[in-house]
């Protein structure tokens, strides 16, 4: 039983990342009808937002402490981050410690801006082109974004540690220990997903967007500028992917190709959930995450060797063949 719960928990944090990325992908696909291969890159940029903020907060000046000497006998140089000198060592230290959660605030406007620029500058011109062209141009964009990040931050992964208070492990019940940050990540993703759904369900803006997803032409005929709202949705989807990336940093140190690694799986998730279905994307994300973690149990691997590597793809193939629309796909979308 304990093993079972641990495996479900293990699956949930990976599943959260899948669900968040797949949710953004589906938002873009459902509203704009664009297959965005650069979505993984947005996830990666989000993760690097927190790297950037961490570097920024750690900017420091050097002072010479005459009372101490280093091993060569010279006066010791002490580095003090600007933040600490402005807010005092305690407050400043706390700010640096909490740089990852703070990066959320920083990442939201940055990601929305990037989403706007992407949509207005590039994607806009591809609405009328075939899906293959959209895939190709966003694939090219993903390479460009990835290389830009690589040019700035190098090819090695960069650690972004979680705040002191949220690192370490928690004992959930007798015999079940689990890293705190992963629980935080899960709760965070549930909150974001809930937020997006609430936004679409309970606001007038969201209602119009949903109407536009169902029948774009009619909404346009009613005199609503649906394009503007869809542009905003693109920004929102970019922000969701970015937030998923920011918070994923402490679980896996960000590197420039993390987006590509997640992209393939996220597309599989979207297809399994059903193109254009938001609940399907979330459901499939968690489901595949949990399945993957069960498949990596030693007992299962002993039974079917290698299953942990291929389970997601295997499930995707079976679902695509048995249930072509995916788990919750709507009729008439991408058939």
């Amino acid at each position: 039983m304990d093993v079972l719960i641990t495996q479900i928990l293990n699956g949930l944090d990976k599943g959260s990342a899948y669900a968040l990325i797949a949710l953004g992908l589906t938002l873009i696909f459902g509203t704009l009808g664009v297959v965005n291969f650069a979505h993984g890159a947005l996830f990666m940029i989000g993760a690097f937002c927190s790297v950037f903020l961490q570097r920024l907060l750690n900017l420091s000046f050097e002072t010479i402490d005459a009372t101490k000497t280093d091993f060569l006998g010279n006066p010791l140089k002490v580095k003090t981050p600007y933040v600490e000198s402005w807010f005092g060592p305690e407050m400043g230290g706390a700010i640096i410690d909490w740089s990852v959660p703070l990066a959320i605030l920083f990442a939201i406007p940055v990601m929305i801006a990037i989403g706007f620029i992407m949509e207005r500058g590039l994607i806009k011109h591809f609405y009328k082109r075939p899906h293959a062209d959209q895939i190709l141009v966003t694939f090219g964009l993903a390479i460009v974004l990835q290389e830009i990040i690589k040019a700035f931050y190098g090819a090695n992964p960069i650690q972004t540690p979680a705040p002191e208070a949220l690192s370490g492990v928690a004992t959930l019940a007798e015999g079940i220990v689990y890293p705190v940050w992963r629980i935080v990540y899960f709760c965070f993703s549930v909150a974001v997903i809930g937020g997006v759904f609430a936004f679409l369900q309970f606001t007038t803006f969201g209602m119009v967007v949903r109407a536009g997803m169902a029948d774009r032409e009619t909404v346009g005929l009613l005199g609503i500028d649906i394009d503007k709202r869809f542009t905003f949705m693109f920004g929102l989807a970019a922000a969701v992917a970015g937030l998923a990336g920011v918070m994923y940093g402490p679980i896996n140190a960000p590197n420039y190709h993390m987006g590509m690694d997640f992209l393939v799986l996220s597309f599989v998730v979207v297809v399994v959930g059903g193109m254009g279905s938001l609940p399907g994307a979330v459901l499939a994300g968690f489901l595949l995450g949990i399945l993957e973690s069960f498949a990596s149990m030693t007992q299962v691997i002993e039974l079917i060797p290698g299953i942990n590597q291929i389970i997601i793809y295997l499930v995707a193939i079976i679902i695509l063949l048995v249930r072509p629309r995916g788990l919750m796909g709507r009729k008439g979308v991408m058939e």
Binding site: L122, L136, I143, V264, G306, I310, Y313, A316, L321
Partner: protein, 399 residues
């Protein structure tokens, strides 16, 4: 000639001339001169040009004609490499049986994957092929280690049986790949003044195979079968209504392009007898997509051009480092020189991927027909200019 019309024959002759004279064409700069690093005429790179050319020609038969975008073609290339290396291990170092086996095995592999994947179209097809390729990649790394040798990659060793050949040569080293005694590694250097041209057996074997593959591709493009594939691309629904089942045709196209990929993989192993799982990763599949689009999808020569361009970038463009840049711009004042080098720096050397991505985006956006379309546009523009000035005093003969 060979059952081709006049235009295709001349195209074939151009390609034959280019591939046969490649050691000269790709070596325009004298050895030892400052520009020598841009020479691409060394055997290893030339082999890669033609091998990836074959890969892209095959991919184009599927994507260019039927419009099915496969994101898992590298799997067939990997399978081809593995089968070829196994042939070197078990049978002999002759490349002929190895290549035949790699084409056959990847054909069977493509038949199975294609049979399942082709039940869906559009993005679903792309995802299915991607899923199959990633599965093969993951399995090659983990469970299939006895066959694929996992992360190390499959290599020929001294204690392989090689029933028709020898396990080790007289001096105790691993025998090299050959074609009935003609060693792939053998090369002849021709020195003309300051230039050195290398003629390698391996390159010419690859080039001849590529020419055969190219000829076959032309025949497929011009055949009724090719016409049927184009019909599938332009309107599959209408084809269904006329009472034709497109499935056998798409499956045939998929298997043919899988066999081309297998041929490329086999040749790759024949030039350098090792095979690794990273050849099957989806980024490798993405690369062949880039090549085909960049060159011109659906055209005959496009994929070969695209493959050549990307491989040139990968090997030559990536060598330009800051020192080279400084030497180029050294005639400028120091400040400006440093600034220009600083601006160019992210785009060359290790950053060549960035340039590639940018070029690719520009091509997809503005030139959906790739380099070939670009060439055609330029040609058309030039011709128009000539027509506009019919009384120009030019003495050049009209085209």
């Amino acid at each position: 000639m060979f059952g081709l019309d006049k235009k295709d024959t001349s195209l074939l002759w151009v390609v034959i001339a280019l591939t046969m004279l490649a050691p000269f064409i790709l070596n325009p700069f004298p050895t030892g001169s400052g520009m020598a690093q841009f020479n691409a005429g060394y055997p290893d790179l030339m082999q890669r040009f033609v091998i990836f050319g074959i890969f892209a020609i095959g991919f184009n038969i599927l994507f260019g004609l039927t419009g099915y975008l496969s994101f898992g073609h590298a799997a067939f290339l990997g399978v081809g490499s593995y089968s070829a290396v196994w042939m070197f291990k078990l049978l002999s170092m002759n490349i002929l049986p190895a290549i035949i086996l790699s084409v056959a095995i990847s054909g069977i592999f493509a038949l199975v994957i294609g049979f399942v994947s082709l039940r869906r179209t559009g993005i679903y097809f792309s995802i299915l092929t991607l899923a199959f390729a990633q599965m093969s990649f993951a399995l090659a790394y983990s469970v299939l280690t006895p066959i694929t040798n996992g992360e190390t990659g499959l290599q020929v060793t001294l204690d392989d049986p090689r029933v028709l050949g020898v396990s080790a040569t007289a001096d105790g080293s691993i025998p090299v790949t050959n074609l009935f005694g003609l060693e792939m590694r053998a090369a002849y250097d021709l020195v003309v003044g300051p230039w050195t041209f290398t003629f390698s057996v391996g390159y010419y074997v690859c080039a001849i195979v590529m020419l055969l593959a190219f000829y076959l591709a032309i025949r497929i493009f011009r055949s009724p079968f090719g016409l049927m594939l184009r019909a599938i691309k332009s309107n599959q629904q209408r084809l269904n209504y006329t009472g034709l089942n497109p499935k056998p045709y798409t499956l045939a196209a998929f298997v043919i392009s899988g066999m081309y990929a297998g041929l490329a993989g086999g040749l790759m192993a024949a030039m350098d007898p090792l095979a690794g799982a990273e050849r099957m990763q989806w980024t490798a599949s993405g690369e062949v997509v880039l090549m085909t689009i960049l060159g011109g999808v659906g055209t005959l020569i496009g994929p070969v051009l695209g493959a050549g361009m990307i491989k040139y970038f990968e090997n030559i463009f990536s060598k330009i480092n800051d020192n080279v840049l400084h030497s180029w711009f050294s005639f400028l004042p120091d400040g400006i020189e440093d600034f220009i080098v600083l601006v160019i720096h992210p785009f060359v050397g290790k950053g060549w991927h960035l340039t590639l991505g940018l070029i690719f985006m520009l091509v997809v956006t503005f030139l959906p027909g790739g380099l070939v379309e670009g060439g055609q546009r330029i040609a058309r523009a030039l011709r128009k200019k000539k027509e506009d000035e019919p009384k120009s005093p030019s003495t050049e003969p009209a085209e």
